[in-house]
Every structure is written in structure tokens, then in C-alpha cells.
């Protein structure tokens, strides 16, 4: 009996010593964006915040992450239920309309605009109120293999083969070009040239890696292609315009490349991680991917096969020039937060230059004002490109900040992947998408 009591006491003390510090020290709970560079950067930044001498134990920050897949669904359920499990939650440009009713605006102070600039702060605004600190700006880079493209440009026989492939598959007379001046046709011809199934002499297995899984984020990656042909969700009168020639062109080009074997056969199940793995393996010549991947794909330790030969340019151009989908991720205040004071204190700190630079140095992708970005330009050259591409090519589709924007992306994902997989015709896919979007955008 005595032994039992002693054992129980010892176990209780052990459990208390393990559990209590975590409970008592972390009383501002932050629900962040799981996986990828955003999580890494947030962890490092929070660690620095908690280590500051002026932070009371009661205001220290603890992080919470769901799964990336289905994140916004879980967040919606939690917020609608009035959850106080987190004080600060993730918010994105395309989801502010959906979550604003469950959040409180925050005053980030006058200096925030000096750190980020007014236009970037606006990515976290709804009805003229600031709902969050912009932590990451997301857009897309065209990653390509410099070594392969350089070799192509210097080899006359290869150029001839390239021209033959372009003529046969795209019906156009094309010659290899510098990636920074690619049109979508140039990119398509290049991807076909570098695909074993089209050109058995290709040094790599695939010309590109298309992200075609039935996933809303993949639609954000795709839509810059039709956008450069003039696509929008609605026209100037508010009519859904997804059945435009621009969308048809984009959808058909993806299908053509997939059917020709320019992208892995499994592409219909690919998203962010699979694309990185494919490009990082050295078996794909190009990849249109989120800017968040730049830090990994150009890091020789993380991606030794291609880091040294990976080039980055903006997405190719269409008849309407270049277009690059843009949105901001950020952190805002839950209306039901248990520790609002501590949460606001953390959010205000996150909007300072010190925190933004720390976040950038830790792998995040904050959109910084030019003079602030200059301070990390050496370690993070991609952030310079980020600002440059965002200002020159960034766009937001009409309706893409509405309360049902996420549902529109979901709908497009389902219908478009159905077309790419050969399960339905292009006309059916566009008709279903149009009918669904009309319903979603009028709500």
C-alpha cells in the first residue's frame, strides 16, 4: 500500500512537472498556418518573442497547428462554434470575408505602414478595418533549370528539335528563349522538349510538374495562366465569366501537356509537397510553384540535386502580359480570445520592423517596404523578387475576396480536375463551374 501511494505521488509530481509549465507559461495561443516555411518562420519568431525580458509569463505565446489539408474547414467550424481554444488565428486575403464576423479588428500602430506599406496592409483589411498582421505574401514563381535551358540555347541540333516539337504539338514556329521572356507557348514548348515521352533524348524525365490535385490552392496556381489571356471571375457587369476563351485556353494547355506526358502521370494527385519533391529530385525542367518554396529549392543542403542550378522568373506572359496570383496570409484576433490583451500585444510586436525582419530571416515571406526589404536582401533575394513581381504582375480576381471565395476555388478544383482527368468535357466542366459560381457569388 505504501509503495502504491509513493508510486502515485511520484507519478503525480512527474506529470505536474511536465504539464504545468506548458500551461502556465503559454497563455496566448496562436493558430498558425501549418507546414512549409510559414510554420518554420512563425516558430522561430515566437521563440524570440517569448525570450524577451519584458514579456510576462502570462503573455507568452504557444503555437497550435492543424493539418494543412482542410485547415479552413476546421477553422470555420471552430470559429462558428465560438471556440476560445486560440487567441490569435490565421487569416488570408481570400478568407477575410468568411472569418471577419468571428474576429475583432486590431490597431497595429502607425509604424506598421512603414514596415509593410499601405498596399500590403490592405491585404488584411475588410470593410476598411484592419483584421490582421500580414505575415506572408503569397504568389507564384516559375522555377526552371538554368543548366538545362542554357544547354538548349547553345546547341543548334537541340534548337532544331525544339522547333520541330513546337510545330508538331503546338502548331507554332517557336525557338528557345530566355525564361524571363517566355510566353506560355514558349514554356509549353520547353516542357514538351524536356519530356522523355515526347523527346527520348531529354536529360530529365519531365518538362514540368503540374499541380492538378482536386485542391483549392492548386486553382490559385493555375489561374495565372488564363488571367494572362484576360480571364476574370466576373465581367464588369458582375456576370460570371469563367466560360471565357481565356479559361478555355488555359485549361486546354494544361490538359495537352498532361496528356502528352510533360508532367508526371501522378500529377492529378500532386500539390505543394509533391511538386517540390518532383522538381527537387532533378527530374523536372520547370515548375510553377508558390514563392514559399524558393528558400528550400535554392538551398543546397535541403535540395542538393538542383539548388545550385535553379532559376526563378515570374510566370510566363500571355497576350495581356504577365499575371501572378497574389494574396496575403496573416494573423488576427479571435473575437472569443481568452487573453485579448496579451494577443494584441503580440500582434503589435509582430508588426514591428524587428519582428518582420526576424520572420524573413527565419524563412517566412513577408512583403516588406523596399527600405526594410533591403536589410535582408542578401540572405533573402527571393523577397526582392516577391516585391517586384507583386507590384508588377500581382492581381486578385473579381470576387476573390468575397465570403464564398474559398468555395469558388473548391468548385473550380473539382470541375477542372475532372476535365484534366478526362472524366468530363471542357464544355461540361465550364458549364458546371459557371452555374456553381453564379450561386456562390450571389450569396
Amino acid at each position: 500500500m505504501k509503495l502504491n501511494r509513493t508510486s502515485f505521488s511520484a507519478a503525480a509530481v512527474l506529470l505536474a512537472s511536465v504539464a504545468l509549465p506548458g500551461i502556465s507559461h503559454a497563455t496566448v495561443t496562436v493558430l498558425g498556418w501549418p507546414g512549409g516555411s510559414e510554420e518554420t518562420a512563425l516558430r522561430a519568431t515566437v521563440e524570440a518573442y517569448n525570450a524577451q525580458s519584458g514579456i510576462a509569463d502570462a503573455d507568452k505565446v504557444e503555437l497550435l497547428f492543424f493539418n494543412r489539408d482542410g485547415f479552413f474547414d476546421k477553422l470555420q467550424a471552430d470559429m462558428a462554434a465560438g471556440s476560445d481554444a486560440f487567441d490569435v488565428n490565421l487569416v488570408a486575403t481570400y478568407s477575410i470575408g468568411r472569418y471577419a464576423p468571428y474576429m475583432e479588428p486590431v490597431d497595429l500602430g502607425a509604424d506598421a505602414s512603414k514596415v509593410f506599406g499601405e498596399s500590403v496592409l490592405k491585404t488584411m483589411q475588410f470593410d476598411g478595418k484592419q483584421y490582421g498582421v500580414p505575415t506572408d505574401l503569397s504568389l507564384h514563381f516559375m522555377y526552371y533549370r538554368k543548366d538545362l535551358v542554357d544547354a538548349l540555347m547553345q546547341d543548334d541540333a537541340a534548337k532544331k528539335k525544339y522547333a520541330e516539337i513546337a510545330k508538331e504539338h503546338l502548331g507554332k514556329d517557336l525557338q528557345p528563349k530566355d525564361p524571363d521572356s517566355w510566353t506560355w507557348d514558349d514554356w509549353a514548348a520547353t516542357t514538351l522538349y524536356f519530356s522523355k515521352q515526347v523527346n527520348s533524348e531529354s536529360p530529365v524525365r519531365y518538362g514540368t510538374v503540374l499541380q492538378m490535385k482536386n485542391l483549392l490552392f492548386n486553382m490559385m496556381v493555375f489561374q495565372s495562366l488564363p488571367r494572362s489571356y484576360g480571364a476574370d471571375w466576373t465581367d464588369k457587369d458582375g456576370n460570371v465569366a469563367v466560360d471565357s476563351d481565356a479559361y478555355k485556353t488555359g485549361l486546354e494547355l494544361y490538359k495537352k501537356l498532361y496528356d502528352a506526358g510533360a508532367s508526371p502521370k501522378d500529377s492529378l494527385s500532386y500539390e505543394y509537397a509533391e511538386t517540390n519533391a518532383a522538381f527537387g529530385s532533378g527530374q523536372a525542367a520547370t515548375a510553377l510553384q508558390w514563392n514559399a518554396a524558393a528558400a528550400d529549392l535554392t538551398n543546397t543542403e535541403k535540395t542538393p540535386a538542383v539548388a545550385a542550378v535553379t532559376g526563378i522568373v515570374a510566370p510566363p506572359a500571355g497576350p495581356n502580359g504577365r499575371a501572378d496570383h497574389i494574396h496575403g496570409l496573416g494573423l488576427g484576433l479571435n473575437k472569443n480570445a481568452k487573453n485579448k490583451e496579451g494577443a494584441v500585444k503580440f500582434l503589435k510586436w509582430l508588426a514591428t520592423e524587428e519582428a518582420a525582419l526576424l520572420y524573413a530571416q527565419s524563412g517566412g515571406s513577408p512583403a516588406l517596404a523596399p527600405d526594410v526589404a533591403a536589410k535582408v536582401a542578401k540572405e533573402r533575394p527571393d523577397l526582392v523578387k516577391l516585391g517586384e513581381f507583386a507590384s508588377q504582375y500581382g492581381y486578385v480576381m473579381n470576387g476573390a475576396t468575397s465570403a464564398n471565395a474559398l468555395s469558388v476555388y473548391e468548385l473550380q478544383a473539382k470541375e477542372f480536375t475532372g476535365y484534366w482527368a478526362g472524366q468530363q468535357s471542357l464544355e461540361d466542366a465550364l458549364a458546371h463551374t459557371k452555374a456553381g459560381m453564379q450561386d456562390l457569388l450571389k450569396k
Binding site: 489539408d69 482536386n214 502521370k265 501522378d266 492529378l268 494527385s269 509533391e274 468530363q424
Partner: protein, 288 residues
């Protein structure tokens, strides 16, 4: 003689019945109300009754029937395969396990992994560039099938499910097989029955209730599959791998069609109830 009288029995049962009524009855009642209401996330606490429109919408939705078809095929095929393989393993491994019982632990290992983790694991294992399976197929044969493309996804999902859950069927059959009295086998042997005849005419009939229950449990699990399918393919290109659970999840969260999603779940509940009664009838017939 009764161990407890009727009044005592009621007194003992009241807490359990109360518990069930509160924790199962209350959500069921709320769901029934939602299924005949117009409701959104903002109006969860004040739904407005609107009749049976949600049920009509569900039953008229071709995607609902697509999901029913997927779930039915998936449930039947996985349950059949798991039971057949589990039975085969139980019959042929029982002598070995009688001598080396420690081998049971590794056989049960797949059951220890959460289905969602199995899905994530196979996403890596089958990835053309990161996965070992395609790697070795390329090394040995110069090519590898695309395990998750639209033509192969269903078969891949079946294999993943079967690999994870066959040990469960095996465990049930092993226990049932081991429980058959030795005298029965000896008597059959003395009468000159071969091992195959004894299995077919004596052992399998004795194991029949276990076989039916195992098939039913595995069918239900397969029919309502969610985690590993969602982790591996989402809902598939164009919704090609949408199970009924995924359909309900997407209607609820992604479409915001809460009434329709709940109506679909009520339809699923009623269908399950019909299957339960069917099973009850089969096993009851066996006893008679």
C-alpha cells in the same frame, strides 16, 4: 429464478438509458431538425424549418449517387478481400502461431497506425520521385504505374485499405478457428475426412457467425471510409474517389450546405439501420 427483480432491473438500467438518450438522442434530434431546415454556420442556433427540400436535393444529386456507388464498391470489395485473406492466414498460420505466439504482434502492427497517417505514409511511399515503390519499379522494369492517377486510384485505395485492415479480420478468424474443439477435428479425421473437407464441411460452418460479423464490420468500415482516401487523393480528380463520408464532409464544410449534408447523413443512417436488421435476421436464422 431471476437474479434481480423487474424494479431493480429498471433502477440499474435507468442511468445507462439516460446517458444514451442524452448523448445520442440529443444530437440525433438536432440533426433531424437541421435536415429539414435552412441553416448556415451563422444560424446554427436558430435554424428555420423548411420541409423535406434537403432530402429531395440529396436524392436528386448525381454526386450523392456517385458517392454511394464508390462507398458500396469500396465497402464490399475491401470486406471480401480482407475476410478471404484473413481466413487464409488464420487457417494456415494457426499451427505456427501456436508455437510462436510472439509473431502475432508484428502481424497486428498495421492496426496501430491511424488511417490518416496511413494515407500520408502511402502518399510518400507511392510518390514517383520520393517513394521507394516507384523507385524500385523503375530500377527493375524501367517504368512504374502512376498509382494515384485517375485510372489506378481506386485500386490503390483498395490495396491500402486491405493492407491495413486484413489483420483485424485475421485476428477474429484466428480466435474463432482456435476455439473449435479438438475433439471435433479428431472425430472428422477418424472418419476419414481430408483437411480440406474438414475445413469446408465442419470448421467453416462453425466459424460462420464470426465470418458474418467480420464481413459486416469490415463492410461498414469500408463503406464509411474517409481518412486515408482523403489524405491520399482528396476527393479524387473530378470527385472520382468521393466516398459518402467525404461527400457529407464537403457538403457541410466546403459547400456550407449544412441541411443537405445532415440530410445525407440521415439517409446513410437509415441505410445502415436496414443493413443491421438484415444482419440480425441472418444471424437469428442461423441460431434457429
Amino acid at each position: 429464478m431471476a437474479i434481480v427483480n423487474r424494479a431493480e432491473g429498471r433502477a440499474y438500467l435507468t442511468p445507462l438509458v439516460g446517458f444514451l438518450l442524452f448523448f445520442l438522442g440529443f444530437p440525433a434530434a438536432v440533426n433531424l431538425i437541421y435536415s429539414i431546415s435552412t441553416v448556415s454556420f451563422e444560424t446554427l442556433r436558430r435554424p428555420s424549418l423548411s420541409g423535406f427540400g434537403n432530402y429531395a436535393a440529396v436524392l436528386a444529386d448525381r454526386e450523392f449517387w456517385g458517392a454511394v456507388s464508390f462507398s458500396m464498391r469500396f465497402g464490399v470489395l475491401t470486406a471480401l478481400a480482407e475476410c478471404l485473406i484473413g481466413l487464409f492466414l488464420a487457417v494456415f498460420l494457426t499451427p505456427l502461431l501456436a508455437k510462436r505466439s510472439y509473431l502475432m504482434a508484428p502481424l497486428m502492427l498495421p492496426l496501430m497506425v491511424a488511417p490518416a497517417m496511413i494515407g500520408l505514409m502511402y502518399r510518400l511511399v507511392l510518390h514517383e520521385f520520393a517513394g521507394p515503390v516507384p523507385y524500385y519499379l523503375f530500377e527493375w522494369f524501367g517504368d512504374s504505374p502512376a498509382f494515384l492517377d485517375v485510372n489506378n486510384a481506386f485500386r490503390t485505395l483498395l490495396v491500402v485499405e486491405i493492407l491495413q485492415w486484413t489483420p483485424f479480420a485475421f485476428l477474429l478468424f484466428y480466435m474463432a478457428y482456435a476455439a473449435i474443439p479438438l475433439e471435433v477435428r479428431e472425430a472428422a479425421s477418424l472418419d476419414g475426412a481430408s483437411a480440406l473437407k474438414a475445413l469446408w464441411w465442419i470448421e467453416l460452418p462453425l466459424m460462420l457467425p464470426t465470418l458474418v460479423i467480420a464481413f459486416f464490420i469490415r463492410f461498414i468500415d469500408g463503406f464509411r471510409v474517409f481518412d486515408n482516401v482523403y489524405a491520399l487523393t482528396g476527393s479524387g480528380a473530378g470527385g472520382s474517389t468521393t466516398s459518402l463520408s467525404i461527400y457529407i464532409y464537403q457538403a457541410f464544410f466546403k459547400g456550407g450546405a449544412i441541411g443537405k449534408a445532415v440530410a445525407a447523413s440521415v439517409v446513410l443512417f437509415l441505410a445502415s439501420l436496414a443493413v443491421l436488421y438484415g444482419l440480425n435476421w441472418i444471424t437469428g436464422r442461423g441460431r434457429r
